[in-house]
């Protein structure tokens, strides 16, 4: 079953800005899907329409088979939303924010209290439950928004840049948490500017640019399209003018060497060439995250196409 289906979804704002130009996306139940795109591509507009915060101009949206036109309340009941901007009532207590959200979804007070305790503990906010939201740090506010979105245990969780501005330790603990709830059956749609986050978590990726979907496929299939990867090598001795047969090599200002490995080439071959030249490699790293490289390539291609 499809958790989410968008058919020819369009949105034109009152100022004439055409944010979505007819997008089609399907997300399978249980999927962990990344919705990526540059700033202003239309990601937040699409999420706004799915969660009924933005009125669509045209097209269809179905959530677990419930059309937002015909069965809006049933569709909404399936969704949990973690928005991009902090939209907490900062004067309210942490526990009341989660309890109230449960109430808006029709959970009775006893169940609401149980779920509030469960998710505040899982997101490590239980000790702060009596505090007002304004007293929380940025990372805690993000976690509180996740607890709030999960309290009715939605089948589809939408996270719009949930780790923006969050330190790496908390980000990684949030990744673990999201993996766990996805494994438990919750479909997740994630937008993020940290592409290593999307690559690490998501099994499906949709890329949106200038209101159009320019890629929509499993992550593995998308990454296979990447024909070339660049590695940065730190060498034991400086190697000015280093050349390796069959490889594109460039020496950086800091003395490190960049080697591009194309389709059909292997790291073993690269090391064999380096051994031939008695070059000792101290460390090796990817120049860019694979998805990031592909993303830039797709978006650039789309921009070039649009300009043409």
């Amino acid at each position: 079953m499809h958790a989410l289906t968008l058919k020819n979804l369009t949105k034109t704002y009152d100022n004439g800005n055409q944010a979505l130009k007819g997008i089609d996306v399907s997300v399978e139940e249980g999927e962990f899907c990344a919705l990526l795109g540059p700033n202003g591509a239309g990601k937040t507009t699409a999420i706004g329409i799915i969660s009924s915060l933005v009125n669509k101009s045209g097209g269809e949206v179905e959530i677990f088979g419930h059309s937002i036109d015909a069965e809006l309340e049933a569709a909404k009941a399936c969704i949990g939303l973690v928005p991009q901007e902090v939209n907490l009532n900062l004067w309210e207590r942490v526990e009341n924010i989660v309890l109230n959200q449960a109430g808006y979804y029709g959970l009775n007070r006893r169940l609401a209290a149980e779920r509030t305790e469960k998710y505040l503990k899982e997101l490590r906010l239980w000790d702060r439950r009596k505090d007002t939201a304004r007293s929380l740090s940025g990372g805690m506010k993000r976690r509180l928004m996740i607890a709030r979105a999960l309290v009715h245990e939605p089948r589809l969780l939408i996270l719009d840049e949930p780790t923006a501005g969050v330190d790496i330790e908390i980000r990684r603990s949030m990744w673990e948490f999201l993996r766990t709830i996805n494994e438990a059956g919750t479909t997740i749609i994630l937008t993020t500017h940290y592409l290593e986050e999307a690559e690490s978590l998501c099994r499906h990726v949709a890329i949106i640019d200038e209101g159009r979907i320019i890629e929509d496929a499993p992550m593995s299939k998308v990454l296979r399209k990447l024909q070339r990867e660049v590695f940065v090598l730190t060498l034991a001795e400086p190697a000015a003018g280093l050349q390796l047969d069959g490889f594109e090599v460039s020496v950086r200002d800091d003395g490190d060497v960049e080697v591009a490995i194309g389709a059909g080439q292997t790291l073993n071959e690269m090391f064999a060439r380096l051994n031939e030249k008695d070059v000792t490699v101290v460390s090796l790293r990817n120049k860019a995250n694979r998805l990031e490289e592909l993303f830039m390539r797709l978006v650039d291609k789309n921009d070039t196409g649009a300009a043409a």
């Binding site: 009924s52 809006l72 909404k76 009341n96 109230n100 109430g103 808006y104 029709g106």
Partner: protein, 257 residues
């Protein structure tokens, strides 16, 4: 619409509103009590003693129902307009908009919050009034139903104001330039029989006149207008304003892009 879900959602919203009112009691409860105490001291006690009686009642007793109604109206209106606009401004209105609670439930929950604050402050002002004068409730059903309907009308009006408001200034314009003048000219401090015939006619176009007088009738048993007319006007206003609120919510005016 899922009735069971909406009932829980409304309870939740009302509980949240009550907590909000009590949390900021210095802003919500204390000012009307102080203001009304000053009205009773200045208009009722100091000036009222020189006025004597109005419609056969001691002036202090005559103005008490109007002052109680004035506090109910302004607090019902003020609660909904500030709460709903605050939720819009802070964007936590989205907590409700993304949930399956119906638009009717969002309106009813906010209006119930406004009514509760209006009635609570009204009860407080009544207690203050009892320090200055004796009030015998002549018609309890009329008293309670009129105060309830009036509170609903102004809570709904506050909701509409909040829907259209884009900045904090917009939530004070209507209370300052519309509500306050209409309340003062709504027969709180005088009987319209004292006015020339033309101004009596003008006063009858003021809906607050009907609320104040019907409430006064409930407490004192005297009124400048027919009670049936007051009920008819209030019920029509409740239906019209609720329908308009629902229309605005369904269209997403001021809350959805």
């Amino acid at each position: 619409m899922n009735l069971a879900l909406d009932l829980v959602a409304i309870q939740t919203l009302v509980r949240k509103e009550v907590i909000r009112v009590l949390r900021i009691w210095v802003q919500t409860i204390v000012p009307p009590a102080i203001t009304m105490t000053l009205y009773f001291i200045i208009f009722g006690n100091l000036i009222g003693r020189r006025i004597g009686t109005m419609d056969g009642f001691d002036y202090m007793a005559y103005i008490a129902p109007g002052l109680i109604m004035m506090s109910v109206i302004t607090n019902s209106y003020g609660n909904v307009v500030s709460s709903f606009f605050g939720a819009k401004f802070g964007r936590h209105i989205e907590e409700m908009l993304v949930s399956p609670m119906s638009n009717s439930a969002i309106i009813i929950g906010h209006v119930a919050g406004g009514v509760l604050r209006g009635l609570f402050v009204g009860a407080l002002v009544t207690a203050v009034a009892l320090f200055f004068t004796k009030l015998n409730v002549e018609h309890p059903f009329i008293t309670i139903s009129i105060v309830l309907l009036s509170s609903i009308v102004f809570s709904l009006a506050g909701f509409i104001n909040a829907v259209f408001a884009k900045k904090f200034d917009d939530i004070s314009i209507v209370p300052t330039f519309v509500l306050t003048p209409l309340t003062y000219l709504g027969g709180v401090f005088y009987s319209i029989s004292l006015l020339p015939e033309f101004w009596q006619g003008v006063s009858r176009a003021n809906p607050i006149l009907y609320m104040v007088n019907a409430f006064r009738y409930g407490i004192l048993g005297t009124s400048d207008i027919g009670i049936g007319t007051a009920y008819a006007i209030l019920i029509v206003f409740v239906v019209l304003l609720f329908s308009f609120c629902l229309f605005l919510m369904n269209r997403g005016v001021g809350i959805r892009e």
